[in-house]
């Protein structure tokens, strides 16, 4: 090991120590400053109410902007940004513009808890949006609850997320509902009796939906012929599909994300499996058909809305999103957009922007017309909305039927 002369070592060490101390000081300084400003209550702005006229309303978003889950975080972020842009163009919240504080979680639960703490205390956000992954929302939600800041998760489907407390709500389905919808569709609509499952054992979304589907489908009287798993991003499904082929299922339930499903469909067709695939809202992206091509034709998935829905809300969203970001929005972008709009709607109705009032306003949202359906928040602060079943036909998801909660 090469030795560095003692003096320069000491100097360097001193510099590093000083930098370290400065860093700690910055971090500590910021937060102590806000605490004093808060006047004793953790949520200082609650008293301010609507009096401050043109001060921006700050909302927070935490999501995976880097790392393995970045695909989902960035889509959600773009949806939220679009919603803010549109809301600001039409006068913001009672004349106050909306600004966004956004932090990256790297898809790491520790980071999620840490940045949400920063949003709630240092940045004094009025409300928090996020995360996509339930595992990360479960880390962020208790923090929001503790500091009395309302949180809306756009797309965490695990039922536990909103159980955390009255500050937490969501605009997406929960796993049991979507599992039931898929099971009903398979059993009643497709008359399937024997189903094979193929799901991602590393993804909570996928395992959650698979479990709920299994329960619901067996209750209806069907059988799960075989249940296979893969690990996130595994490119090769031949082994699992070979087993599935031997089981001769009527339908294959694949509750994964579109990033994997197209690949699964192609390999299934190559093996001569003709049974249709069935999935959940994780499929919703134009990438599904773009990559899957003919292989994904004739497969079904449940979703919040149909992109072919002629309603102006949906069409306007898709058109403006395309103009803004140059790509077709996926389901997560639509949910991020809706979460933001539902929040703005509640802000306008709420007597003040304090945590309690705002959370109550969010919880009483009723028949809110979003892109992803007409949303009513129920007593458990979950979104109640019907699911639509879509079939991939001619390279586009086509409406088949609506299944009500």
């Amino acid at each position: 090991m090469s030795r560095v002369p003692g003096r320069s070592s000491t100097a360097l060490l001193a510099v590093i120590l000083a930098a370290c101390a400065a860093a700690y000081g910055v971090v500590a300084g910021c937060s102590s400053g806000t605490d004093r400003g808060g006047g004793g209550t953790p949520n200082g702005q609650s008293g301010a109410g609507k009096a401050a006229s043109n001060e921006p309303v700050v909302i927070g978003h935490y999501g995976s902007l880097t790392g393995a889950q970045a695909t989902f975080g960035i889509s959600t972020s773009q949806g939220i940004r679009l919603a803010i842009k549109q809301a600001n163009a039409t006068g913001g919240i009672n004349g106050r513009p909306i600004t966004l504080r956004e932090y990256d979680t790297k898809g790491d639960a520790r980071e999620a808890g840490s940045v949400v703490t920063r949003l709630c205390t240092n940045d004094k956000v009025v409300a928090v949006l996020g995360e996509v992954a339930s595992g990360l929302s479960l880390a962020g939600a208790p923090v929001c609850q503790e500091f009395g800041v309302p949180m809306i998760t756009p797309s965490s489907t695990n039922p536990r997320v909103t159980v955390v407390g009255d500050m937490i709500s969501r605009v997406c389905f929960i796993d049991p509902f979507q599992g039931l919808v898929c099971a009903k569709f398979a059993y009643e609509h497709r008359k399937a009796r024997k189903v094979a499952m193929l799901y991602d054992q590393a993804a909570p979304y996928s395992t959650g939906l698979a479990e709920e589907f299994r329960g619901a489908f067996e209750k209806l009287g069907g059988t799960i012929a075989t249940s296979q798993t893969y690990a996130e991003g595994d490119p090769d499904f031949n082994a699992q599909l070979t087993t599935i082929r031997s089981a001769e299922p009527d339908i294959i339930f694949v509750p994964g994300y579109y990033t994997d499903v197209a690949n699964i469909a192609m390999q299934a067709r190559k093996l001569g499996i003709t049974a249709p695939l069935l999935g959940g809202d994780g499929w919703d992206s134009t990438k599904l058909t773009e990559i899957g091509g003919p292989a994904i034709e004739g497969s079904y998935y449940s979703n919040h809305y149909s992109q072919q829905d002629p309603s102006p809300t949906v069409q306007k969203f898709i058109a403006t999103y395309k103009a803004e970001f140059g790509s077709t929005p996926d389901g997560l972008a639509a949910l991020g957009y809706d979460a933001a709009l539902l929040l703005f709607d509640a802000m306008k109705r709420s007597p003040s922007l304090g945590g309690k009032d705002l959370a109550a306003a969010i919880a009483t949202s009723k028949d809110f017309h979003g892109v992803t359906g007409t949303i009513t928040i129920d007593a458990d602060r979950n979104a109640v909305k019907p699911a639509v079943m879509l079939e991939v036909k001619g390279g586009a998801p086509t409406y088949v039927t609506t299944i009500a909660p």
Partner: protein, 362 residues
């Protein structure tokens, strides 16, 4: 050296080795909890907790990689094992005894003592795993040992993914069938959530102080010198009568114990969920980086690196997509311009030369 020869510890030895350190650790914990925490606000508190976990993790890995010169990249597996054991113990005990998993009792109340016991249990659980992972070190060296420890971590990750779903209700827990309990209900890929949030600055820095104290004492004990001799030259050490096989495994066990405690503290922290991915090798790398950056074997250097590398991503938050690029660049540059680590093999106090030079400790 005379400590090990004295079978009946003298009063002063007890004072020096147990009473004073424990008192110091409690004092540090109380200082952090009652003065530093309230003065610096919730976000800084949160970061200090993260830093605490990182310090315990890095300092304990330093025992394997730094003192003994073995190469383990499975440390996250010990942390996760400890976290799962401690978290599930507190959670299910709370559910059985108090009927709910919410926090029970205030500062130093019943709940916190349950939490303390859980952390110790987590430490023992991780130590058992450490023994298992340490066994191959008897046969394997260098990179081959590294890949095996990595393999153990990945196996644990996949096993945790295949556990049963968590039980959220006391009634349901009492009536659980064996199919719900085998494999254990640790939440599978969802992670194990809703662990009561007992971790605070007091417990965290109490444990940090204990870990640091043990690490320092270990380094200058006869066992520690034997560890160092294995690092410097395994064959020479063996020739001098050092029982290499026993000591290597012992290094793994001790390190895993403290990693398990770090895991326990992590699992009970507010705003975290312990997930299978926490056992994965990427998390292990983070800790290896801390150890190498701090200087292999240097306790103070590793502590410093743990502080810096935990705060760095938080300081870079405003760079959004660019922050990990900056982080990676800094890492590469640090390695190129400071290849021996922040402090090399030295300790912080070695720099305060005039008083320490030449003074050997007994």
């Amino acid at each position: 050296m005379d400590d090990s020869n004295n079978l009946a510890p003298t009063r002063s030895a007890v004072l020096r080795n147990v009473t004073l350190p424990v008192a110091g650790a409690v004092a540090l914990g109380l200082l952090m909890q009652l003065v530093v925490g309230p003065a610096s606000g919730p976000y800084a508190t949160r970061l200090m907790l993260d830093v605490g976990v990182a310090i315990i993790a890095a300092v304990s890995l330093n025992i394997i990689n730094g003192y003994t010169g073995q190469f383990s990249v499975g440390h996250a597996a010990f942390i996760a094992a400890g976290g799962y054991v401690a978290g599930s113990f507190t959670y299910y005990c709370s559910l059985l005894w108090w009927g709910e998993y919410a926090k029970h009792g205030g500062f130093l109340g019943m709940g916190e003592w349950l939490f303390f016991c859980s952390c110790l249990l987590g430490g023992f659980g991780a130590a058992a795993l450490g023994w298992l992972v340490g066994l191959p070190s008897l046969r394997l060296r260098g990179d081959y040992l590294a890949i095996v420890t990595l393999g153990f971590g990945e196996i644990l990750r996949v096993l945790l993914q295949n556990t049963n779903r968590q039980i959220f209700d006391a009634e349901q827990l009492r009536d659980a069938t064996w199919r719900q309990l085998v494999p254990p209900p640790l939440g599978g890929a969802q992670g194990f959530s809703d662990v009561p949030k007992y971790t605070n600055l007091f417990w965290m820095y109490l444990m940090v102080a204990v870990t640091l104290f043990v690490a320092v004492r270990l380094k200058i004990s006869s066992t520690g010198r034997a560890f160092l001799s294995i690092r410097e030259d395994e064959i020479a050490a063996e020739a001098m009568g050092v029982d290499i096989t026993r000591l290597k495994v012992r290094a793994f066990i001790v390190a895993a114990f403290f990693a398990g405690i770090a895991g326990g503290l992590f699992a009970h922290q507010s705003g975290t969920v312990i997930r299978p991915i926490d056992a994965g090798f990427q998390r292990s790398f983070e800790i290896v980086i801390m150890v190498v950056l701090g200087g292999l074997g240097s306790i103070s250097g590793v502590t410093l690196a743990a502080v810096i590398l935990t705060l760095l991503p938080a300081l870079l938050l405003d760079f959004a997509q660019y922050r990990m690029i900056l982080y990676a660049l800094l890492l590469i540059l640090l390695m190129i311009f400071r290849p021996q680590g922040l402090l090399g093999v030295k300790e912080l106090w070695d720099f305060a030369r005039p008083w320490r030079r030449g003074g050997t400790r007994t």
